[in-house]
């Protein structure tokens, strides 16, 4: 088993996580991330994988909410913690690429 991730692997996860890494950090992560991945690889030794999964330990029926409106924030409160805003809007640098999602 190699004891380091490749540089590309580190860059891939850093991209997924949207965390910038510089050259020096990449080297560190190559080792540290690999160590953690070796830890979690122990799960492969555990037998038994079925469809029964615990998505929340206290499994009961989800109690559904009635469709009745509650209190809302006013736009001022919405903007209060936003580092950048303009008018009633929260502002970000221009989005060029299209949304990946729905």
């Amino acid at each position: 088993m190699k004891d380091k991730l490749t540089k590309e692997e580190v860059l891939h996860v850093a991209h997924l996580a949207r965390i910038k890494v510089d050259e020096e950090e990449i080297e560190k992560y190559q080792v540290e991330l690999k160590q953690l991945l070796n830890d979690v690889d122990k799960i492969k030794e555990v037998e038994g994988y079925d469809e029964e999964r615990m998505i929340a330990p206290w499994q009961k029926d989800t109690i559904l909410r009635e469709d009745e409106p509650g209190e809302m924030l006013n736009p001022k409160e919405v903007l209060k913690n936003a580092p950048k805003h303009s008018g009633n809007y929260i502002e970000v640098p221009i989005v060029i690429s299209e949304s990946e999602g729905a």
């Binding site: 997924l16 009745e68 509650g70 809302m72 303009s86 009633n88 809007y89 640098p93």
Partner: protein
Amino acid sequence: MSNYIPTIGIEVHCELKTKTKIFSDSINGYGQMANSLTNVIDLGYPGTLPTLNKEVINLAIKAALILNCKIRPVMHFDRKNYFYPDNPKNYQITQAETPIGYDGYVEIEVDGKTKKIGIEEIHIEEDTCKSTHRGTKTLLDFNRAGVPLIEIVTKPCMESGEEAKLYLEKLKELLFYSDVSDCKMEEGSMRADANVSIRKQKSEPFRTKAEIKNIGSISNVKLSIEKEIKRQEEIYDKGESFPPQTRRFDDKLNDTVLMRVKETGNDYRYFPEPDIPYVHITQEQIEQVRKTISMLPDERRKTYQKLGISEVNAKKLVQNRALSDYLNELLEEKIDFKTAANLLLGDISAYLNKMETEITKTSLTKEKFIELTNDISNETLTSKNLKEILTTIMESEKSISEIIKEAGIQNITDNTAITEMIQKILKENQDSVVDYKNGKDRAIKYLMGQVMKESKGSLNPKMAMAILKEELNK
């Protein structure tokens, strides 16, 4: 010339008609002041957790039922992880693994034949926030964040833009009539993506597909698919190929344009949403929802035609939900439905259009409408007279008979008065009376014309004719 077989699959995102959002109790609304319909949950504030709107589940069950889908008895939600400014938590809560509905179909009529469009799945998810691009910045409005959506995915089973159009029209009609969604494409409450690929033969595996995203109208779906098919044909005919890609329809160019070439597939890192435990759907709940489904368009059209309404008028009525609903409340009544349909689509529609109002907002109660339909069908009220009193009918609380009386139309339906008038006309037109007795058919038409002229058209023609004949035969 084209000898390719296109394969088309459609994905529709449809906003559900609820009062509140899917995971929070802020209002699900459109066209309000920016960031005025939000709370900390919609904004993805640290520490907030989702709750689940009951009506969302009910509407999704309803959609599954009307699209003939199977409904999953136990389901959960999943997180779809991706960074984007319109995605407040940078993950979207959706259903990747256990869509609420699956394996359904919708029937469309293609060239007079019924075709089943297979529905792969229906899943529930949350909408993103709205972004507007201004110069070097993008502005975010979170009012739409968390609005409930269902995504309806067809099997790759359509073969033309026309079929896609027919499918979408049908889908829209169904979702609209079952009150699942407003289906307003212009407001974005219904959005369609089309997956298009072509191949030479059905035995051949599918070739590369292009996805056309976020098409803003049904006619553009058809158009963009047709353009896309042509584009792919031209590429293959040149012996070339193209990479899987995402395209969009450009209104101005009237064609699809490349958005991006798909990479090895997006890495959304799906996993079960730990903040929402399993959701169980009981048969009882499904049956309860089923009861709330009002008569669907196909059945409405069929019912109307059975009641004697013409095919054209049946279709027209179903195109106008408010009139169709109004008529549906009268289906048990013993009235002449042909007349009722004519009234609704004719004078009443004209009035409603002119006044820019809805039928339920007028004073035309069901009782009044029944009385009116009867008066017209047994011709105690002529259409000319109706035109005179229509505004009063629509706006006053009085009954039809009262309105007729007040308008002075009543007298003319009085037999004695009519008889006297006819006798007078016969006296003045002795020549015609003689012609009639000699068997000249035209004479009675002339005499009838005189009668109607004298009465200024306010007579019931059937009744007048009967009296006229009676007098002539004396």
